[in-house]
């Protein structure tokens, strides 16, 4: 299991490689990237802040919960980046392997959805005329 929080560009190929398994017929990956618009506003760049020890601990917990739900999971790899990211940069890579493809789609989606709910990482969008912490207010 590869779990990491990095402050530099994510090596996407290395994450995919970490998910490889001879027992798997499917490797499924999610790559989260920085988009240039948010709710109609042009985004210039994103600033990700993390609480590193808890973020890594919670990433590991999410991966372990996925293993409980999909016991056929072979490999799980999750790497998140923090710091300042430009448009198009990769913010997160999740890769899982399973014997058959349906489980790999489901497990990969579960990991990104749960990560967004529990892992202490915060995104601040920078626009041409200001900044906003994403989802901070109702």
């Amino acid at each position: 299991m590869l779990i990491d929080l990095v402050d530099h560009a994510i090596d996407v190929a290395a994450v995919l490689q970490a998910a490889e398994s001879d027992e798997a017929g499917a490797v499924n990956a999610f790559i989260g990237t920085v988009r240039n618009r948010s709710e109609g506003r042009r985004v210039v760049r994103l600033h990700y802040e993390a609480y590193p020890p808890m973020a890594v601990h919670q990433l590991r917990r999410v991966a372990e919960m996925a293993r409980e739900k999909w016991p056929m999971l072979r490999q799980v790899a999750v790497v998140h980046r923090h710091g300042t990211l430009e448009i198009g940069d990769v913010a997160v890579v999740i890769a899982v392997s399973t014997p058959h493809r349906a489980d790999s789609f489901a497990a990969c989606q579960y990991i990104i959805d749960t990560l967004k709910e529990v892992v202490p990482i915060w995104k601040k969008e920078e626009y041409e005329d200001g900044t906003v912490w994403v989802a901070a207010h109702p």
Partner: protein, 80 residues
């Protein structure tokens, strides 16, 4: 007892510093700490959610805090 609370994201900006040390009654709960901080910094009450983490885990409201705990305030997360 003295508690040190690490602050992140919008909570760090509202308080104006990245950690806070405060004196709390022995046995202070996570909910009690939140109530105290919302009184001191009313803008914290306007957030969509605010959790307390103790030693890298989310703490239930009634969990008692200790001086040696690593405590953090967790505003709404938005990773991914």
């Amino acid at each position: 007892m003295n508690l040190t609370v690490a602050l992140f994201g919008i909570a760090r900006e509202i308080v104006g510093q990245s950690s806070l040390t405060l004196t709390a009654p022995a046995g202070q709960s996570a909910a009690g700490l939140l109530a105290e901080l919302r009184t001191r910094y009313p803008a914290l009450a306007g957030l969509r959610s605010l959790a307390v983490a103790v030693n890298n885990e989310y703490a239930a409201a009634d969990v008692p805090l200790h001086e040696r705990d690593e405590i953090a305030l967790i505003p709404p997360v938005s990773g991914g």
